[in-house]
């Protein structure tokens, strides 16, 4: 047992050896994160950081929401009554009424990311990382300036003048700061865009496709200047506000602003980098096909700034959210009757429910874009899912109902269409307006279980034409304006306009509404044109019934009547968003927008 006696000593020795000689035991490193030092010395990581800024650009097609800005204006009706508050101007500084797009907090977080890069650059901390590649560094700087301008443009469009933050805050900084004037904000944004345009390549190629370009910077500048020249920021939109400089210009140089907007748009056109997609269709049908494809294709020559998607990553769920319930889709946002009614007749005349011919067959002889954008009762779309197919083998939208004679019971039976609120298929998901969205939805995708792969087009060349035309109209250059409006109309196989003055302005505004429908423009247009009181009246739709004929057969042509599906109302305070109560509490220097 001698070994046992020396055992204690042995154990003690062992214990002390193992326990005491590991001073670096606690020196662990996070294995699933990147340290600040590692990040900013490696161009690959810096690029990944910049990619994350792109990710925070508002994506209306995104995950589970797919809530377009059209639901917050007279373009689309949302099935959820919760949008009632927003669309009745019942916003308060505690409640944004269901608005789930970019807002103050999210945008300032993105601004910080941009400032982080710009500050590192300003302190020459990036030079070591880019020692051999100035082109790469310039490109990245250009992207960051572009993105910062994009975020500020969104802030300014919603809130008016906001605090311009260019510093990277640390924990111990003083955080209180004042709102800058609207004019200062626009100048700041335009400066960033000029810097970006100077640094960025004209086009991006290969795996950089999708990054900001010189064209994107100039096109965004054109949009910013157009918005800045508009009524909202040049007239007192909300009476009696004590800080008018926060909401718009207080000087009188409006013509110069229109000129700047015009020049900026022209600069994009003159780049020669973009064209309208298929500008000269041979027929109406070809135009419909072109205008449908244009939003499904991965790339067109019209694209200026887009965001790509892969179906697997499900970041574009518009098919699921907006598709008809009869396809097992959510039918949450459906085109409003007002939008549908604003599509002109093929001959360029206005559609009207008071015109008996129009009212009897509202879906014939309409603007080709109507057929490309809207799923209406009787429109042929795509085959139904397997379990619905036997109920409706043709793939035709059914938003009406059929009165049928039940001879056995000697009574009328009403058979609801598959895409209605009384459908046997997920009826609680059906829309109320009688229409579904076709534009932007890829019919080859099964939205129930897959995302879409078609890009979100933030800026396309068509908008630049329209922006240019608007500035020209405001500068009384009608002919120049008509030239560009008519290029858009020709592409849609619509007759050219020869109007001028107020008529041209009205035609232009309708053209913009139709051409850029459901592309998140209308929300801003009704505001900047100060026409919101006429837009927020009611959401309309149609009631469609295939009536029982006197001989007890069912009519083959439905009776269609416009209906109101939801009330809407306007209060001028809603021209600008409220700054949230909490934010004002945290930052005493902030001034609230009028009416809140």
């Amino acid at each position: 047992m001698k070994s046992i006696r020396s055992f204690p000593k042995l154990v003690l020795l062992l214990v002390f050896l193992t326990l005491s000689c590991q001073d670096d035991l606690l020196e662990t490193k996070p294995l699933s994160e990147f340290t600040e030092i590692d990040t900013w010395k490696d161009p690959a990581l810096i690029e990944a950081f910049i990619n994350s800024i792109y990710l925070s650009v508002d994506n209306s097609f995104n995950g589970g929401d797919g809530i377009l800005k059209g639901q917050f204006v007279d373009e689309m009706h949302d099935q959820w009554y919760s949008f009632f508050e927003f669309n009745n101007s019942l916003l308060t500084s505690d409640n944004l009424g269901g608005w789930n797009h970019e807002e103050w907090t999210k945008l300032y977080k993105s601004v910080r990311y941009c400032n982080l890069f710009i500050e590192k650059d300003a302190h020459n901390q990036l030079d070591a990382a880019f020692v051999t590649d100035k082109v790469l560094k310039d490109r990245m700087s250009g992207e960051v300036y572009f993105l910062r301008a994009y975020f500020y443009q969104q802030l300014v469009s919603l809130y008016g003048g906001v605090p311009i933050v260019t510093k990277v805050y640390g924990l111990s900084d003083d955080f209180e700061l004042k709102r800058d004037s609207y004019a200062a904000c626009i100048k700041f944004i335009v400066d960033d865009l000029d810097k970006a345009a100077a640094l960025l390549p004209l086009v991006q190629t290969g795996d950089n496709l999708g990054r900001a370009t010189k064209g994107a910077a100039l096109a965004l500048k054109a949009r910013v200047l157009l918005y800045a020249a508009s009524d909202l920021h040049n007239r007192a939109a909300v009476a009696g506000y004590v800080d008018p400089e926060l909401l718009g210009y207080t000087d009188g140089n409006r013509a110069a602003r229109w000129q700047a907007a015009k020049d900026a748009a022209k600069a994009v056109i003159d780049l020669g980098a973009y064209n309208l997609y298929k500008p000269a269709p041979a027929s109406k049908d070809e135009a419909i096909q072109n205008l449908t494809d244009m939003f499904i294709l991965k790339q067109t020559e019209e694209d200026i700034f887009v965001r790509f998607f892969r179906p697997e990553t499900r970041q574009n769920n518009l098919s699921q959210v907006a598709g008809p319930n009869g396809y097992h889709l959510y039918g949450e946002n459906t085109p409003s009757g007002q939008l549908v009614d604003d599509f002109e007749m093929t001959d360029g005349s206005k559609f009207s429910w008071t015109n008996p011919a129009h009212a009897a067959q509202p879906y014939v002889n309409r603007d080709p874009r109507f057929y490309a954008d809207i799923l209406y009762n009787g429109a042929k779309w795509k085959p139904r899912p397997p379990d619905v197919l036997p109920l409706e083998p043709e793939g035709v939208i059914q938003t009406g109902s059929w009165e049928k004679w039940d001879a056995a019971k000697n009574e009328i039976v009403v058979v609801p269409g598959l895409d209605t609120r009384n459908s046997p298929i997920e009826n609680f998901n059906a829309g109320y307006t009688g229409y579904y969205l076709r534009k932007l939805i890829d019919p080859t995708i099964d939205g129930q279980y897959s995302g879409q792969g078609n890009p979100l087009r933030y800026i396309r060349f068509g908008e630049v034409f329209l922006n240019y035309a608007e500035a020209c109209i405001e500068l009384n250059q009608d002919e120049e304006a008509r030239k560009y409006i008519n290029m858009i109309r020709k592409r849609a196989a619509m007759p050219v306009t020869m109007e001028s003055g107020a008529a041209l302005k009205a035609r232009y505004r309708n053209e913009r509404r139709i051409e850029l429908a459901i592309e998140d423009h209308r929300f801003y247009d009704v505001r900047r044109w100060l026409i919101a009181p006429a837009s927020y009246v009611a959401f309309t739709g149609v009631s469609i019934v295939y009536k029982l004929n006197p001989d007890r057969t069912t009519a083959t042509v439905p009776t269609i009547k416009p209906i109101v599906v939801q009330k809407s109302a306007w209060n001028d305070k809603a021209y600008f968003f409220p700054i949230m109560r909490d934010e004002i509490n945290k930052n005493k220097l902030l001034v609230q927008n009028p009416g809140y």
Partner: protein
């Protein structure tokens, strides 16, 4: 409302599921072989187990230096572990005994000690009895003379009413008022049992004596009890900290699979809330003294001395004791101990023949309560009301509503109770365990194996949980100084779920409309709610599965060296290695649902159904694994010194290091061409995916404890830990955590003994300590970036993104818990009545919280946690227990309760917030609510009071709190009630009458409240309680609001007091009623003992909720009510 278990409503499916049972038998067989092998091995090593107890074999090395016989015997008793019985007055005259230190048997030692005295001795089990050696050798009487004697207590006071019974018979007597007795014994070998309530029973062998005086010791068993404390044990009598414990036995007959579910109501100071009853996911949230911090409030779990082990999954029958450290006594665990510590020790071997214990439990479970939903006609009517309020056409005609109501056309106008369609009347649970316990002086063993199975309440359920576990605890004596312990425990946890999560299932279930059909007449499932989700199918394996298997292995090797160089010194080292391996598999396959157009019928006039494939169009598989390792190495040096029986010192110092690592791996494939093989290789090559990550942890620390007591009267303890944690920056890595406690055992004072004799034990104690809580995301001191969602460039090329995860807080450190506690504890009536009470005041500062209440969002900062919060949590606990025996009826009753209330003392408050909204001064996690003060009766009522912008008649009235004439965010008021109860308690009763026994636990909680929202409206059905008596134009004086649609009406989406429900409850938590089969019967069938019992959990709940369990949240798997039958066999 009272919900009483109607036993008759239970369905008892007696058919055992063959597959599971077969698995079980197989497992039991294997375990039994294992046990047998281990037992045989143990025998081979140890020769004869029973002989080892013999005083001729037990060895001691006693050193005596001119001492009295009495102290020699005392010393021998202490060192040998045998109880030596003698009569003090008889041994008193003998002195001057010396013995050289040498290893001898106890027998030899006794012979030497008694060589000059007129005593003989004999062994009775663990007792050695000294008898006066008869002077005369002529002592063989034909008949035994009557035996007389006097029974008195330790102070010499005579004890009347002591029962004196001849062992093995019913023959006996009791002592008279003077404590005297007289009894006739049949022969010299007769044994007498002396017993009296509050005193330790004694078995004595009078032999041939005619007179035998007996001294009964007060039954201070409870005081002699040792309790487990950090890194050791202490006598309960000298403990100065606030410690509660429960022994394994009380937990073992409760039919809970998960040990965490058995603790509610048993330990004062422990708040236990069971949020879900889903098999495999039904753990109880445990909080010691409630919540103390805004961050992580979970206590530290220490199992068999190793920290950070998981408690769930531990086999309840393996548990010897469970102890909670509530105050500064936990400071020995330093930076992880601020939320208290739960110490669990498992059973170990005992000297003696192998004892085999086998238990079987078969239980039936059902939810404690299920929501009652509106029927189809009511729901249809309510949908029409929604349309009415939206100026839309009604959905259903009166005729259609009538058809829903009368069931005349059940296929077109069904009335489906979805809960009935999805849930079966009861589901099964079974538990079986076998253990062997025994040992000899040189090796002791405890070996156990268990199997558990738990089914879910769904019909055709894909959900179930099963677990198989084993434990081997060995203690070996290598020499007189060196002991070796080897513990090995392992278990396999098998979780099976359908591919839909429990959240999806319950969401869909609540959403499901009574106007939709669940099953067609031919048994095929009806259409979905959306996305193919029909709850009757979601709960089955038709949609694939989500399985995980966890393998947990825990090991520890302990070496204990006593008296290596210095007497009283001992050294213990532990080396523990724990490993957890989890393998998960999610298999998603298409499924089929059946739709009917409502018109087409086949030749047999049955609906022509359309079979439609739903779900992903092709199977897809995700496989993931997680591998966690943790090793703990420590060394403890213990020194015990008693100076002249007055100064007792115990010193412990230790050093410990822990390192851990975790690695995960996941892989994904889709486009399987068939669902018949669920392996990765069979998947398509497109879009396959994989991922992996890892993390590390490390801790190093030094700790110690110093106990001092003066004659067991004045007690003092100091504990500390110098703790280093990898979580913090290098300069702030180590912290010092001290704890001090003092105690005064007043009952040891002479004045007390003289005057307040009926309180035989009374102690005052107090403690203060500074503990830490380091449970935050590590590396907050580093600015860091991490990969986010990929961004797509060039049409379809995914590129990495690297968002900022957080900015650095270089000064981050642990939270500091300043815990103070004062308490009393005592015993009366010789231990029959026990009591304890504690008051505590915990001040937590440096709480890590985000400063986002005051930092404006224009900063764009992703804030790190900063040490800014301060929380005060104070309260009291008490426990009162009484045990009594009246004839054959023994009973015990104990009541415990604890109250704790926390309030935020300081934290980041948004400036400018009105007083009634500030969270400072209020409990943590308290929420702001609009004050619901009624229902707008009509339009005039709306116009007459400030209201939400679009309010209408039938809406809930929000109070204009600040009286500014409008309802906005300023009208919200902070509520002091959170979902954590402030008072919890339990009443436990143990009853025993002859062979029958019962154990009943009532448990309750008060002070919690929680809002309940449903997905009612166009989206889903209403609760019957919300539908009944709602406001309608015809019922304008209603107290319930009009029909709404979820998230659409302002009061149905914004927190307001209308939806807040009081969660107070009292429930019959556990009941056990058992029968101990008499030994005459068990002996015949070769058993040493057998019990059969019926038990139950959550049988009755008294609360104010109609549709939900007070502990679970609305949309989760409900808590279970269990009824169990059990069998417990010993041989």
């Amino acid at each position: 409302m009272q919900k009483i278990l109607a036993l008759t409503s239970w369905v008892f499916p007696i058919s055992w599921q063959v597959r599971v049972w077969a698995n079980f038998l197989y497992f039991m067989k294997i375990s039994f072989y294992c046990c047998t092998v281990i037992m045989i091995t143990a025998h081979m090593i140890l020769a004869n187990v029973s002989e080892a107890q013999d005083i001729r074999r037990s060895r001691v090395a006693l050193e005596l230096n001119n001492v009295s016989l009495k102290s020699a015997l005392e010393k021998l008793q202490a060192e040998s572990g045998y109880n030596i019985f003698y009569i003090s007055t008889k041994v008193a005259p003998y002195n001057g005994i010396s013995l050289k230190k040498e290893m001898r048997t106890v027998h030899q030692t006794l012979e030497l000690i008694l060589s000059n005295a007129l005593f003989s001795f004999s062994q009775e089990g663990k007792t050695i009895i000294l008898k006066e050696r008869p002077v005369s050798t002529l002592t063989v009487p034909v008949t035994m003379p009557p035996l007389t004697g006097k029974v008195s207590d330790e102070n010499g006071e005579p004890l009347p009413g002591v029962s004196v019974v001849l062992k093995g018979s019913t023959q006996g007597t009791t002592t008279n008022t003077e404590g005297n007795y007289q009894i006739t014994t049949p022969d010299e070998s007769s044994v007498l049992i002396f017993s009296f309530v509050g005193y330790q029973s004694q078995e004595l062998l009078p032999g041939t004596r005619g007179v035998m005086d007996v001294i009964l010791k007060a039954d201070t068993k409870a005081l002699e009890e040792v309790v487990v404390v950090g890194y050791g044990t202490q006598k309960k009598a000298t403990v100065t900290g606030s410690i509660s414990s429960v022994d394994g036995k009380s937990l073992q007959q409760v039919p809970a699979l998960n040990i965490t579910n058995s603790l509610a109501g048993r330990l004062p100071g422990l708040v236990a809330v069971t949020r879900s009853g889903e098999p495999g996911n039904d753990g109880t949230t445990l909080r010691i003294r409630g919540s103390n911090t805004l961050g992580n409030n979970s206590p530290l779990i220490v199992i068999d001395g190793i920290a950070n082990r998981t408690m769930e999954g531990l086999n309840p029958t393996d548990i010897e004791s469970l102890t909670i450290l509530k105050d500064a006594s936990a400071a020995i665990y330093g930076a992880q101990a601020a939320n208290g510590v739960i110490l669990i020790t498992t059973k170990r071997g005992q000297d003696g023949k192998p004892k085999v214990n086998v238990t079987f439990n078969q239980a039936w479970s059902k939810p404690t309560v299920l929501p009652k939903n509106a029927d189809a006609a009511t729901y249809g009517q309510m949908l029409n009301e929604i349309s009415l309020y939206r100026d839309r056409q009604p959905i259903y005609t009166a005729d259609e509503l009538q058809k829903f109501r009368d069931g005349s056309d059940p296929l077109r106008y069904p009335n489906t109770d979805w809960f009935e369609s999805v849930f079966k009347p009861s589901s099964q649970q079974r538990i079986a365990n076998v253990s062997v316990r025994g040992g000899s002086e040189s090796i002791r063993y405890f070996v156990s194996a268990g199997y558990k199975y738990q089914d879910a309440i769904y019909k055709h359920s894909a959900t179930n949980y099963s677990q198989a576990d084993f434990r081997i605890n060995l203690d070996g004596k290598l020499s007189n100084y060196v002991n070796l312990g080897v513990d090995l425990a392992g278990r396999q946890e098998d979780r099976n779920y359908p591919s839909a999560s429990v959240g999806t299932i319950f969401n869909t279930l609540f959403k499901s409309k009574p106007t939709m059909i669940a099953y067609w007449p031919n048994g095929m499932p009806g259409p979905d709610i959306e996305r193919g989700e029909n709850p009757v199918v979601l709960v089955t394996d038709d949609t694939g599965y989500n399985k995980s298997k966890s393998y947990i292995m825990q090991s520890n090797v302990r070496l204990n060296i006593t008296n290596p160089w210095v007497k009283g010194l001992s050294l213990t080292t532990n080396a523990s290695f724990d490993k957890t391996f989890i393998n998960g598999k999610i298999w998603q396959t298409p499924w089929f649902l059946y739709t009917w157009d409502g018109q087409t019928v086949d030749a047999a006039n049955q609906p022509s159904l359309v079979r439609g494939q739903r779900g992903y169009s092709e199977p897809r598989l995700t496989q993931n694994s997680m591998n966690t390792n943790r090793s703990t190495l420590n060394a403890l040096l213990n020194y015990e010194k008693h100076i002249a029986n007055t100064h007792n010192i115990n010193l412990l110092v230790g050093v410990e290091r822990m390192v851990g690592d975790t690695a995960t791996f996941a892989a994904f494939r889709r486009y399987f061409i068939t669902a018949s093989v669920d392996q990765l290789y069979a998947g398509g090559d497109l879009e396959k995916n994989n991922s992996g990550s890892a993390s590390l942890s490390a801790r190093k620390n030094y700790f110690g404890r110093l106990n001092y007591n003066y004659r067991g009267k004045y007690l003092a303890e100091f504990v500390f830990r110098y703790d280093g944690s990898y979580i913090f920056p290098e300069s702030k890595r180590y912290g010092f955590f001290p704890g001090v406690s003092l105690g005064w055992q007043v009952s040891e004072e002479k004045f007390w003994k003289d005057k307040i004799k009926f309180v035989n034990y009374f102690k005052l104690r107090g403690s203060w300590g500074k503990l830490g809580n380091d449970r935050i995301t590590p590396y907050q001191y580093l600015s860091s970036y991490g990969f986010g969602t990929n961004y797509v460039f060039n049409e379809s090329v995914e590129k990495k993104t690297l968002p900022e995860l957080r900015i650095a807080n270089p000064s981050v450190t642990w939270e500091v818990a300043n815990q103070s506690n004062i308490g009393v504890e005592g015993e009366m009536l010789g231990g029959a009545l026990r009591f304890s009470a504690d008051y505590f005041y915990n001040f937590r500062n440096n709480i890590l919280w985000y400063r986002n209440a005051s930092v404006p969002t224009t900063s764009g900062l992703t804030l790190p946690r900063e040490n800014i919060g301060e929380v005060i949590n104070q309260g009291f606990e008490f426990e009162l227990g009484y045990n009594q025996k009246v004839g054959d009826f023994e009973y015990g009753i104990s009541i415990n309760g604890s109250h704790q209330k926390n309030r935020i003392h300081f934290w980041d408050e948004t400036p400018g917030v009105p007083d009634y909204q500030q969270s400072t001064g209020h409990p943590m996690n308290s929420a702001l609510y609009y004050q619901a003060i009624g229902i707008f009766k009509d339009k005039a009522a709306v116009d007459n009071y400030p209201h939400w912008a679009n309010a209408r008649a039938g809406d809930i009235i929000f109070k204009d709190v600040n009286g500014d004439g409008q309802i906005d965010g300023q009208d919200m008021v902070r509520s002091d009630k959170t979902d954590l109860p402030t008072f919890t308690g339990g009443i436990n009763m143990n009853l025993r009458y002859k062979a029958f026994y019962a154990d009943i636990l009532f448990q309750g909680a008060a002070g919690a409240a929680r809002p309940y929202f449903t997905n009612s409206g166009n989206f889903g059905n209403f609760l019957a309680e919300d539908a009944d008596g709602r406001w309608t134009p015809e019922n304008p004086s209603a107290t319930k609001p009009r029909t709404w649609s979820t998230t659409e009406e302002y009061w149905a989406k914004i927190n307001n007091t209308y939806w807040v429900r009081n969660n107070d409850y009292i429930r019959l938590k556990n009941v056990v009623i058992g029968y101990q089969v008499p030994s005459e019967i068990t002996k015949k069938i070769g058993l040493s003992g057998m019990r059969i019992y019926a038990s139950g959990s959550n049988l009755i709940t008294i609360d104010k909720l109609d549709s939900f369990d007070p502990e679970t949240t609305g949309f989760s798997y409900p808590s279970n009510k269990l009824f169990n039958l059990g069998l417990d066999i010993n041989f």
